[in-house]
């Protein structure tokens, strides 16, 4: 990944340059914290994991091989720690009921304007399995390619594409159901 400017930053970290760690932190801290927090819904635990991620990045800088982007590498560390946290908490993921491939139209979104409706989306996201949610959030919030997402969460690229597709379909279905329920009230 010769076109990734962060590779040079990691090289400096590997040589012991703490200012490079500052630079990487300032570059990635906010989106990475958002990513971790969205999975745990606990800002305190998210801050601790963020700290652990950057420590691991610092300690592992010398071993970084630029076969992937730096961002992908850092997010992969974060994702592993989030999964460890899930396990430590004994979190049980909900088994999503995968729909057949539906006709997707914008109808569910036409009325999604208000804060209440955005809350509906958050509820629907909360109902996704963690790995589906991670896949779609990395795709739509971090704008990662399916190759990057696959590297972060450690699954084949085809699995990422399928998970994002299903997550999108599940969100659509969930939103439509909530909108319909609200319309009946």
């Amino acid at each position: 990944m010769k076109d990734d400017p962060l590779v040079a930053v990691v090289r400096r970290m590997a040589a012991g340059d703490v200012s490079a760690l500052d630079m990487l932190y300032r570059q990635l801290e906010r989106p990475l914290f958002g990513f971790i927090h969205s999975k745990l819904n606990d800002p305190f635990a998210a801050a601790d994991i963020l700290h652990e991620v950057f420590l691991e990045v610092w300690r592992g800088a010398a071993g970084f091989q630029d076969r992937s982007r730096v961002r992908t590498w850092v997010y992969a560390i974060a994702w592993r720690k989030v999964v460890d946290e899930f396990r430590a908490r004994g979190r049980v993921t909900v088994q999503d009921d995968m729909p057949d491939r539906p006709d997707e139209g914008p109808s569910a979104f036409d009325l999604l304007q208000t804060a209440e409706e955005r809350e509906m989306l958050r509820d629907c996201l909360g109902g996704l399995k963690a790995d589906h949610r991670a896949a779609i959030e990395l795709t739509f919030l971090e704008d990662m390619s399916y190759r990057e997402v696959a590297a972060v969460i450690g699954v084949p690229e085809g699995t990422v594409k399928t998970r994002v597709f299903h997550a999108k379909a599940l969100l659509l279905r969930c939103l439509e159901a909530k909108m319909n329920r609200r319309a009946r009230i």
């Binding site: 760690l21 914290f33 969100l171």
Partner: protein
């Protein structure tokens, strides 16, 4: 599954990555040709685009650790230089060690109760105050206030946005009183000040 069905499924799977602009040039060109051939695909693109927009608009604004997180990281890095052994340590154990050495505390959690902290390095490093910072205050202004009064963050922000503060290098009663008074005078920055003892 026929070839045509497979192609349709593959197109549907690639649409989110078309929308976020991460496909390779070759993939994007191939997909653009499919969109020209089948205008019905535009509805899927529109749906994915709207979902992406909605997710971005709905992402809760989180208060990230920011400069305080960086300060904590610097402390941990300074306290525990890299060694071959430390590379093999679990990051969790290293982080806990860093918190203990940097803050002098053994942190077991945070729910607002004082008894969740065990002092590990003497009473001088125990949290003295719990404060909340006004929403609009930049972290740099809060950091300046702490530096000017010899205060340091022992922990925080908590779920409710509280910070626990201690005096750097220990304190007697007059230091504590002065520090509290300074925090209370900074009402434009600090919303609430409570003693934790």
């Amino acid at each position: 599954m026929t070839s045509a069905q497979f192609d349709k499924a593959r197109i549907a799977e690639l649409i989110p990555f078309w929308v976020n602009g991460s496909l390779t040039d070759e993939e994007a060109e191939a997909l653009a040709r499919e969109f020209e051939r089948d205008p019905a695909l535009h509805a899927q693109v529109q749906a994915a685009r709207q979902l992406r927009g909605l997710m971005r608009a709905s992402a809760l604004p989180e208060r990230s650790p920011g400069d305080f997180g960086l300060a904590r990281l610097r402390r941990a890095v300074a306290e525990k230089p890299r060694t071959p052994g430390s590379l093999r340590q679990s990051a969790a154990a290293a982080a806990i060690a860093a918190v203990v050495t940097a803050g002098g505390l053994s942190l077991t959690g945070w729910s607002g109760s004082n008894d969740q902290y065990r002092q590990a390095a003497g009473p001088q490093t125990a949290a003295l105050f719990t404060v909340s910072v006004r929403d609009e205050v930049p972290q740099s202004a809060f950091a300046d206030l702490l530096l000017a009064n010899g205060l340091t963050i022992v922990d925080g922000p908590s779920v409710l946005g509280f910070y626990r503060l201690a005096l750097v290098g220990g304190a007697d009663d007059s230091d504590i009183t002065a520090a509290r008074a300074a925090l209370e005078r900074a009402g434009n920055l600090v919303e609430l000040v409570e003693s934790t003892e």
